[in-house]
């Protein structure tokens, strides 16, 4: 099936394109980008001039919860949330039940994704068997089954030695090791960023150095082994410094930041709702200096990726004492609006940089197709409406869980439509597009 998108602003930094172009899709792939492309029988889709056509966004850090925690999310509901949030692909974390440490679980997740026919799903395998931090998982088998990276996310790779071996072993298969950086004794039973707000609310603190110490370990090991380490959901300014230092020395280190870590601070623990469990995540919301460092890192190019760490939890699990609530918030359906409202419109980043952070760089780090509108690339497209007025509504989200601190927020910028493999999988009715 051939489709021709006419009239949108194409932003495709991989090919140095930013302007009004037509995009021709043939058989699920990009067949050409240019001006005045002839329809030649293709279905013509008129795209209003205010709409941006970007390579499909890729969220390289989500929890789809299946198998095992289907009351929080399933591959079907998670990918429905993904496409509603403008993501054509997601990489899902292995901390399911059972853990994705073998081909059977990987294949199960991929089967569920194929049934859902929404976003592409790239499973990430466990570094260690059962994520126990003892033996390596069967990494070659995971790779063959379709895993694109490895992580023990939820916690760090337990020991320096195991991390060293993981980096060495994974490098044979071109897989990065994604690290949840946390020195676990320093984190202890902390539930919030160590600082004034945690102190005054009587919450046990987690210092930023719990993260940066582990990042320094892993960057050193990346240098030792030549392996690629990707620092997940970076929150502390000290970690960003560690990454910059590693990059300056030529270490193979990349990093991501979540929207909540560049939008919110630990002041949200106290206001507007004191002890709101939707402000509890790991790593925690940090102080202003950390949030500002993340904004600077996004702006100056030190940060490679924006990922959501979409962490759905059932409301029963969150409607408890702050201490007892699980860490995490949903993120797939708010990320694009937060990026527009807080980064693009204030002029901190360009649209081209937004596409690098949310599409091109995740594709490069995970070595998956996408990230560009090159001829022959999969026809995964995100149509963005930069000036759309969006009011976040948790109740109407596609995700099975509604644990977001952004409910009710008014934001400028959103998703108009999502196309995966040439097929329209999501249209935002508010954007009034006919796709």
């Amino acid at each position: 099936m051939r489709r021709l998108l006419k009239g949108g602003r194409v932003v495709d930094p991989a090919n140095g394109r930013d302007g009004v172009f037509d995009v021709l899709i043939d058989d699920g792939r990009i067949a050409g980008v240019g001006r005045g492309l002839p329809a030649n029988g293709a279905e013509v889709l008129e795209v209003p001039s205010g709409i941006v056509i970007a390579p499909g966004l890729i969220d390289m850090h989500v929890h789809l919860r299946e198998p095992g925690q289907e009351h929080k999310e399933t591959v079907a509901t998670g990918t429905a949330a993904a496409v509603a949030g403008g993501f054509t692909a997601v990489a899902c974390m292995p901390n399911t039940d059972p853990v994705n440490d073998n081909a059977g679980v990987t294949e199960y997740v991929l089967k569920k994704a194929a049934e859902a026919r929404l976003a592409r799903v790239y499973p990430i395998g466990a570094v260690s068997r059962g994520q126990k931090g003892e033996q390596l998982a069967d990494i070659a088998e995971l790779k063959q089954a379709g895993c694109v990276a490895l992580t023990d996310d939820g916690k760090p790779v337990a020991t320096a030695l195991l991390m060293r071996r993981a980096l060495e072993y994974a490098s044979m298969f071109g897989m990065p090791v994604i690290e949840h950086c946390e020195e676990q004794t320093l984190k202890g039973d902390g539930v919030a960023h160590e600082g004034f707000h945690a102190s005054s609310l009587g919450l046990r603190g987690i210092p930023g150095q719990a993260e940066s110490i582990m990042a320094l370990r892993d960057i050193s090991l990346a240098e030792l082994t030549g392996g690629a380490v990707h620092i997940a959901h970076m929150s502390a300014r000290q970690t960003l410094d560690a990454v910059r230092f590693g990059k300056a020395r030529g270490a193979r280190v990349t990093c991501e930041v979540t929207p909540h870590h560049f939008v919110l601070t630990d002041a949200r623990l106290a206001e507007p709702i004191a002890y709101d469990t939707n402000t509890k995540m790991n790593p925690p919301l940090r102080e202003e200096a950390d949030r500002d460092a993340m904004l600077a890192g996004l702006s100056d190019g030190s940060i490679d990726v924006i990922a959501t760490d979409h962490a759905p939890h059932h409301y029963d699990e969150k409607r408890v004492e702050f201490d007892h609530a699980p860490f995490g918030i949903t993120g797939l359906e708010t990320a694009v609006s937060l990026v527009f409202d807080r980064l693009v419109h204030p002029g901190l980043i360009t649209l081209g940089r937004m596409v690098e952070l949310m599409s091109l760089n995740p594709a490069r780090i995970l070595r998956v197709p996408g990230g560009s509108l090159s001829d022959g690339a999969p026809a995964d497209l995100t149509l963005l409406a930069p000036d759309l007025s969006v009011t976040v509504s948790a109740a109407t989200m596609r995700s099975k869980s509604k644990n977001t601190p952004f409910d009710g927020w008014a934001l400028r910028g959103g998703v108009a439509a999502t196309i995966v493999g040439g097929r329209t999988v999501y249209v935002n009715e508010d954007a009034k597009l006919r796709i």
């Binding site: 160590e194 600082g195 004034f196 945690a198 102190s199 005054s200 609310l201 009587g202 919450l203 046990r204 603190g205 709702i273 004191a274 002890y275 029963d316 409607r319 408890v320 004492e321 702050f322 201490d323 007892h324």
Partner: protein, 305 residues
Amino acid sequence: MKKDLLGISDLTRDEIYLVLDTAEAMREIAERPIKKVPTLRGKTVVNLFYEPSTRTRTSFEIAEKRLSADTLNIAVAASSVLKGETLVDTALNIEAMAPDMIVLRHASSGAGHLLARLCKSRIINAGDGMHEHPTQALLDAFTIREHKKRIEGLKVAIIGDLLHSRVLRSNALLLTTLGAEVWVSGPRTLMPPAVERFGVRASTSVDEAVADADVIMLLRIQHERMNGAFFPSVREYFNTFGMTTARMARAKPDAIIMHPGPMNRGVEIASEVADGPYSVILEQVANGVAVRMAVLYLLAGGEGD
């Protein structure tokens, strides 16, 4: 006053004084042969305690009974919390029986905030985790005012496990709101991060903190803190930070010694100090009843006689 008393942070300076002044009137009731007034007749108060507590629970219960409220004690053992129903479900079940007030003691900071959002009943925080213990701070202020006739301008030293103490947080808020000069002291390991932003002066030298102090308040040191490497030994703690008669001599001659209890004699406080003439520790307990009567009365709307 707000619907709930979750912390001193809920009270204005004027409301704090209102509680203290009301407590003066309430204290007189304890001196009567019939220690009971009909003020809260027909009101139901549930004491919902998720942590063991003798002093606070007894104090609330006596206060409620002296005001003629119908009281009910629910003690939930920590072990049954894990397998039993959630705090929210327990509270909603109690709420369904339409009590007027719920007095909550809980090990988690902010537990009262959770209930206050869901319940029509007024919630009184009787201690939540490491957060606040507002009635303790109010009874401390009442006791200080009784002895010193004022709070503004006094030097108050609070010494001990500041990090884990809800008494510290409530007292720091209350005493700084009323214009006292608050010093805190103890080992660095037991100070809350950013404690100076509580509006207090922090020093690891107890001698400096107690110098010319009008009031010295000790906080309990739990032995199990040694396991978290907060301090090496009880002996070293007592020698370095314990309140001894020698350290007491650095304070003003008429300084008073306070402790929210339960005390660890020979750890944070020498017995000679606890039992000395400047100790007002048992007065604190007595005043606790009057202050809690005042809080219950004011939250109930200040109706009746």
